[in-house]
Symmetry: C2
Subunit: 411 residues, 2 copies
């Protein structure tokens, strides 16, 4: 697997978070010679929030998490890669239940405080024992510095582990947020990305956490696409251990609490960081693309137009070929089905004005466009000429390598 | 350009249709050493019906046709390939108007009886003179046997011309329908395909013709997709010269006229034939796929689920790689947003039962699936387990050649 050209030279070091312990191992569920099972343990009092795939064929672990989330309390998270346990019917639900019970025993809690996520092949039931037999040893070896191992264990076709950390201040006291994510193909999140787990020591109640998480997901994971294919397993969970309360941070129980400002900003930045790592590790990509849509009727329309461009095979292959074929942007705006006025549309490549009022500007030259498209990171702005709403969407190009990776995925 | 593996060994010969004359030439608008301009002339009394792209950035020729269509009368059709005259603003509209005036002069009619279609690069205005200067000579040379030349002149990335002919009987008298189409990429028609022109000698009024055309388009061009990208120029026009009235067919002025049965069937067959030729010439394809969706809530839901599967890069690359990865079918059903019951879903590859009641059946073997996926024409049936509605959708695989063709389109 060729390393993404955007892979960080070295992943950031994530500090321990008070109240979180992690351990990973090789379960042998699918892969050989790599870790594929992660256990995270949380101290009593940890609150949790989450957003999940909108898929109508969501996997058994997603359904389990949805059911437990209203409880708002988490003590353990079990994640496996290699098998998504989706479209596995009753056997899949049995596997999830048995996993939750075993993890509860290892963590010393009730099963409803266990969260589960799985990623990998769809439609192949597996026996819970491949996971459950590992949990006692994992719970014994779990420690606060396991973030790098955790990020590696959840990878599938990712070419590098994805980690991010931020700090914020509440009541003048330092709070930490750590996050890990995985994802490379089947990326068109619709509520969350494939898998992303965030932990913080902030003492924030579950309902407040949930209130912060949706907008954070919307500006990050819900704004990226690699291939327009939405996973059955998309799961974004945030765990708050409340450990900072011991250092004097008063618990936050109200979403309108002004002390949340710094935390909200840090959570937005952390999730965007991880979402961009996902799209920058898009299968087979050579280029990262930021798309600004302006002049739309509504923010939803702007996002839909952005996704229509970002998911267009013809736009993505043109970008792969260094071809500033902006006619394809016009096509993709048109097919989005949202209001656009061709006679008022404007297009920019970076700072280069390409088209204005519905046709190419005299100053634009094909040579300037071609030079810009040779960059590895490009920014395209399309004004659709009907209103004032805007959206930003992030994507990558579509290359022959994407086809090879996915034509040969299971062989 | 590699010839599609599904190209007919020799295209069908289309007989002359009384009241239709055709001529093609090299205008030099973009291509060298090939024809790229078509003029079709119709005898007085020819009625016309049409359906067009739903794109919000439709080209000037589409807007022109939409404006003239209510008149219901046609005397000339001008088609160029190499430039779509879309996103060309006022200059594009001027080009269309000048073309219509010149064609009207050549045909001896009013401009509102002239229909125009253009296909090719988007966003590059061109002067009408490249077309208009050819029209006098084309109108002189036009003749009834020009169908093969016409089909070649409208090609862009097509690897072969697409022609079809059918006969029907009205009042016991033989009627002929001829059709030509073009299209290979940017194929996700939404009312019609890129370009398709049908002519018949049947004496059918415009309103009746329009009534027959929409369902014909729905079961043919609106049921195919190559890449999910909808063109700015999709145009399907049917011209009826009424010449068969001279042979004793009484004019048909009512859509409920039972004498239409045979014609309706022939029109459905003709448009499906051409639509399948388009998808079977999909850019870079190696495989042709028929998708049956059953058990859906409504026919619209079934079609959306079918298109979600047919446009999924992960499904299409798996098919390219001979990989019977049916989990990706489940994913694509899930992302369609339409009702589906994972616990009742069933999947078949041809006659091979793969999954039933939400999981793989015991009799299914990966070897059987892999053998089936090596075929060049495959049929996938997905029952989504919630109702009785169904739809059929046709598509092709996504290969590295698709990427190469479209990364290098303009170079």
């Amino acid at each position: 697997m060729k390393l993404s050209p955007f892979a960080p030279k070295s992943p950031p070091h994530l500090p321990a978070i008070d109240g979180v312990r992690l351990a990973a191992c090789e379960s042998g569920i699918k892969y050989k010679n790599r870790t594929d099972l992660l256990l995270m343990l949380f101290d009593p009092g940890t609150s949790v929030a989450g957003v999940f795939t909108h898929s109508k064929t969501a996997g058994a672990p997603v359904e389990w998490c949805r059911t437990q989330l209203p409880g708002g309390q988490a003590r353990a998270l079990v994640v496996n890669s290699g098998n998504s346990n989706a479209f596995t019917g009753a056997r899949g639900r049995d596997t999830v239940k048995a996993t939750a019970e075993a993890a509860a025993k290892a963590a010393g809690c009730e099963p409803n405080a266990v969260f589960i996520a799985s990623t990998g092949v769809i439609g192949q039931p597996f026996d819970a024992s491949v996971i459950t037999r590992q949990l006692p040893a994992l719970s014994k070896s779990a420690h606060g510095d396991g973030w790098a191992d955790a990020a590696s264990a959840i990878m599938t076709t990712d070419t590098h582990p994805k980690l991010a950390t931020r700090t914020a201040s509440i009541d003048g006291i330092a709070i930490t947020l750590n996050g890990i994510a995985k994802g490379s193909g089947m990326i068109a999140p619709d509520m969350a990305t494939l898998l992303c787990f965030v932990a913080t020591d902030a003492p924030i109640d579950a309902a407040v956490l949930q209130h912060l998480l949706q907008p954070a997901a919307d500006q990050s994971f819900n704004a990226i696409t690699v291939d327009g294919d939405t996973s059955t397993s998309d799961t974004l969970l945030v765990f708050a251990t409340h450990a900072a309360a011991k250092r004097g941070v008063a618990p936050i129980r109200d979403a309108s609490d002004p002390r949340l400002a710094g935390f909200r900003k840090a959570l937005d930045a952390l999730t965007l960081d991880l979402a961009l790592q996902v799209v920058k590790d898009g299968e087979g990509l050579t280029k990262f693309v930021t798309l600004h849509i302006t002049g739309a009727e509504t923010a939803t329309a702007a996002r839909r137009i952005g996704m229509s461009i970002a998911n267009s095979p013809l736009v993505k292959t043109a970008i792969a070929g260094d071809d500033p074929n902006w006619g394809r942007l016009v096509m993709a705006v048109g097919k989005a089905g949202e209001m656009a006025d061709p006679d008022k549309m404007a297009i920019r490549f970076g700072d280069i004005q390409v088209a204005e009022n519905g046709s190419a500007v005299a100053s634009y030259t094909e040579a300037a466009g071609a030079a810009y498209f040779k960059r590895s990171e490009i920014t395209l702005t399309v004004d659709v000429g009907v209103g004032n709403a805007r959206a930003t969407v992030y994507t990558c190009d579509l290359t022959a390598d994407y086809v090879s990776i996915n034509a040969d995925y299971r062989s």
